[in-house]
């Protein structure tokens, strides 16, 4: 099951891959205990530090968890949404910040995804979701609000919209896109005059969701996308020639 070729390159990576394969293929099931580090080092004919490096690689991906003590060891972890979320956010943030992805591309993907949720959300949103959206809209209209707080509220609003679809996979995928775009979004809100326009669109979305009118939600989101991308472009322009 877990053999290892004798090419002497990156032993810990090879071992990690072997165990990872065993988990993904189902040979190791959730909550199953892996052999102890000593046993693994015997099995793979390597030292314990090498085994430990392999296990830490897997732990970094939330594939295993470890426990100390007599009945301790490494156990196959049941991957949960929270872990998947944070990984997704880290990855998305880096993809964007390292310029592997342009803001425009990310923005397009984000709104395409959000619009995909709109129809489902119009169908399934609960009063709770609506209440959250109304609360956030009210918060956004407060005069003394900092840009950062406005942005946080903006994210919460869209989050409620997406969560209204009742599909955790969609929520999870959107979380990555939104969180990654957060820094630039923050910069956008500095152009303060934009707030009332955004609030108006948010209100339109909330009203349409309350009326379960998917088409209007979609149209409002399309407007918001156009607006956001225009603002981002303006900000980018200003940053290019700050003088």
């Amino acid at each position: 099951m877990k053999i290892d070729p004798q090419n002497p390159a990156d032993l810990s990576a090879q071992i990690a891959q072997a165990i990872r394969d065993a988990i993904v293929s189902g040979a190791l099931i959730v909550d199953e205990r892996l052999p102890s580090e000593t046993e693994l080092s015997d099995l793979f004919r390597v030292s314990r530090p090498t085994v430990r490096e392999a296990l830490k690689r897997l732990a970094a991906q939330s594939l295993i968890r470890t426990q100390r003590g007599a009945a301790g060891g490494a156990f196959v972890n049941r991957l949960n949404f929270e872990d998947a979320y944070s990984q997704q956010i880290t990855t998305s943030t880096l993809l964007l910040s390292m310029n592997a992805v342009s803001f425009d591309t990310a923005c397009e993907a984000r709104y395409a995804l959000e619009r995909a949720c709109a129809a489902l959300s119009a169908d399934r949103r609960t009063p709770d979701h609506l209440a959250t959206m109304r609360t956030e809209i009210f918060r956004q209209s407060q005069p003394g609000l900092t840009d950062e707080a406005f942005c946080t509220s903006d994210v919460a609003f869209h989050r409620a919209l997406v969560d209204g679809a009742g599909n955790p996979v969609l929520s999870y995928q959107l979380a990555g896109a939104v969180e990654a775009m957060q820094p630039l979004m923050n910069m956008i809100t500095f152009t303060a005059r934009s707030r009332e326009a955004i609030i108006a669109m948010h209100s339109k979305i909330a009203d349409a969701l309350e009326a379960r009118d998917a088409d209007v939600v979609d149209a409002a989101l399309a407007d918001l996308e156009t607006y956001t991308r225009q603002l981002a472009q303006d900000v980018a322009e200003q940053r290019r020639k700050p003088a």
Copy 2:
């Protein structure tokens, strides 16, 4: 910049987090060299194995790469799509296989996402994308095709559709969903009589994309979703009572 609280729990995890924060925040930029392992162990007041475990955690997330030799060391890695892809696929597969997500939920998310791509793809698809889709449809209609090959072709078809949107973020997110659903999709194709119906829908989609008719693509995808979910339900039913 990189300090470490003295609570003696999971030192390597703490160090990994400190370095990860530095990368995400931009304090460490792409291709920048980290201090050597010895220097890091001095900095954090821990041993070299502990530092190494921390670095391996980061390497598992493709945040750093290491190089041996005199001018070697650990460097901040420019995250690319391939790495992000494989991580996304691993995560999605596990979320589904460990029952954190139902097939129905994944399927809904997958088609919502794919339908979100439809409009963009109708607008931007190149002749190349169309050719790929036609080729795959032809392959699917070959009588001797194994279920596995049919499924692979099916994935390639949808991949071409999504790639037609020209947005790598969308391609990347959909890849996870599709790959994760692959095993069950394979099982679905065992109900052989379904092939011609699927091929008919594929043809309809390809025709509509050629005509740049987003609405028809959307409708065909909606049909395909309904069909897929029905088949999945049947398969699940059969597995419950195999006798």
